[in-house]
């Protein structure tokens, strides 16, 4: 019953929304890029073997996971949790953190065990990764339009780069605050009934 020009995705039952905190972004993201997931895991293992490279590599993986939040979901999917704008945003951010830190837990432990002397880098990795994911979520909902798959505006893309290029990090932090406020206002248009 599926069309012949169907794009291949990973359809195994290992990936389920229940396992990713009911997140359609992570479920769809992992299904659409199964080979990228395996390649990333391999590269992370290699990086972890080198001292002081493991945690920066994990941080880059967090920025890459922000890519799951590029496309806007249909309105039915947005309304599924039946939450108001602020609660939904908090939930989305917590789910993104949960999924990322759970998936990277084995690599984190491996990095600490392999190079205990550089374990202190984790103190910078954890908050920066959390910030990168927070930025991805609020940037998406600041420009949310049901079902749209528009390219993010230039400012949003520069903000994303700021999490890799330290010079632009202050701009990214300012944009995070601005987008968080705008995201709540924007989502209120669709979720005001759940107040």
């Amino acid at each position: 019953m599926s069309s012949t020009n169907a794009k291949r995705i990973y359809t195994g039952r290992w990936i389920r929304p229940e396992r990713f905190g009911g997140s359609p972004e992570w479920t769809a993201g992992l299904r659409r890029h199964p080979s990228a997931v395996w390649i990333t895991a391999g590269v992370l293992v290699l990086c972890i073997l080198l001292p002081a490279v493991g945690f920066p590599a994990l941080y880059v993986a967090a920025v890459a996971c922000g890519g799951f939040y590029h496309a806007c979901e249909p309105l039915e999917l947005l309304r599924l949790p039946e939450m108001n704008a602020s609660r939904l945003l908090v939930r989305k951010v917590l789910t993104a953190w949960r999924n990322y830190f759970l998936l990277t837990l084995p690599f984190t432990l491996l990095a600490i065990l392999a190079h205990p002397r550089t374990a202190w880098i984790a103190a910078a990795w954890a908050p920066l990764s959390a910030l990168a994911l927070l930025y991805a979520v609020v940037a998406k909902y600041a420009r949310y339009q049901p079902d749209s798959n528009l390219r993010p505006p230039l400012a949003t893309r520069i903000g994303s780069v700021g999490f890799i290029v330290p010079l632009l990090l202050p701009l990214s932090l300012c944009l995070t605050v601005s987008y968080a406020l705008r995201a709540e206002r924007n989502l209120n248009r669709y979720l005001h009934d759940y107040d």
């Binding site: 599926s2 169907a6 794009k7 929304p17 229940e18 359609p24 479920t27 659409r32 496309a71 039946e82």
Partner: protein, 218 residues
């Protein structure tokens, strides 16, 4: 009673609805046909922001969390399988059980929902809409794309939904299909309600084989 009062909806420069007024009693199946039916359902669901007018129930604004919406041509987020879509609904409401609906409207559960053919997408849309047990159901062309045997199943389901206390607002261009299902039918045209028919008047409409052609299409 759901009251739609002087609803005005504009999309760009085009006025889709211009002063639509309807009174929809609860626990009934209401049909809408004619030009602007899809816009009406989208406005009730909150996808289109009305330029003017109100949609209320017992004097209070209609609550969107009490309704679900089936699109005429459902489409799904790329990357999710049909099982994922159903799993997401179940994740947020553990009480729902889609088994009976899946038997009536079969879908390949492990295929990507976005790339299913139109009939399977319609089946999945129906499952996701009806499994949630919402009080108000907005169904845009629920028979479009269904095989004849599924149309009969859908008609039976609609009758059952109306009798079990749900309020159904459905749009259709094929009046013979909703005869015997709808309690009343609103005919839209020129942005407003052109006529309203009771269920016993629908038979007379369908006796004339050309009656469908009188209904303005979107």
């Amino acid at each position: 009673m759901i009251t739609i009062d002087s609803l005005r909806v504009r999309e760009g420069r085009r006025m889709l609805l211009d002063g639509v007024t309807m009174h929809l009693p609860k626990n009934a199946v209401h049909g809408v046909a004619g030009e602007g039916r899809g816009a009406l359902l989208r406005a009730v669901y909150g996808e289109l922001r009305p330029e003017g007018g109100t949609i209320s129930e017992a004097g209070h604004p209609l609550q969107r969390h009490e309704m679900t919406f089936l699109k005429a041509d459902p489409h799904f987020w790329p990357g999710l399988t049909a099982r994922d879509c159903i799993g997401l609904v179940r994740y947020y409401d553990r009480r729902v059980n889609p088994e009976a609906l899946i038997r009536r409207f079969p879908v390949p559960l492990d295929a990507e929902a976005a790339t299913l053919d139109s009939e399977a997408r319609k089946h999945l849309g129906i499952i996701l809409t009806l499994m949630r047990g919402k009080r108000i159901l907005l169904l845009d062309e629920p028979f479009r794309g269904l095989a004849p045997e599924r149309i009969f199943v859908m008609q039976q389901l609609l009758l059952h939904l109306g009798s079990e206390g749900r309020t159904v607002l459905l749009s259709s261009t094929r009046i013979p299909l909703i005869e015997g299902v709808c309690d009343d039918l609103y005919l839209l045209g020129g942005g407003c309600v052109r006529a309203r028919y009771e269920h016993y008047e629908l038979g007379r409409m369908t006796q004339n084989p050309d009656s469908d052609e009188d209904i303005p299409q979107n």
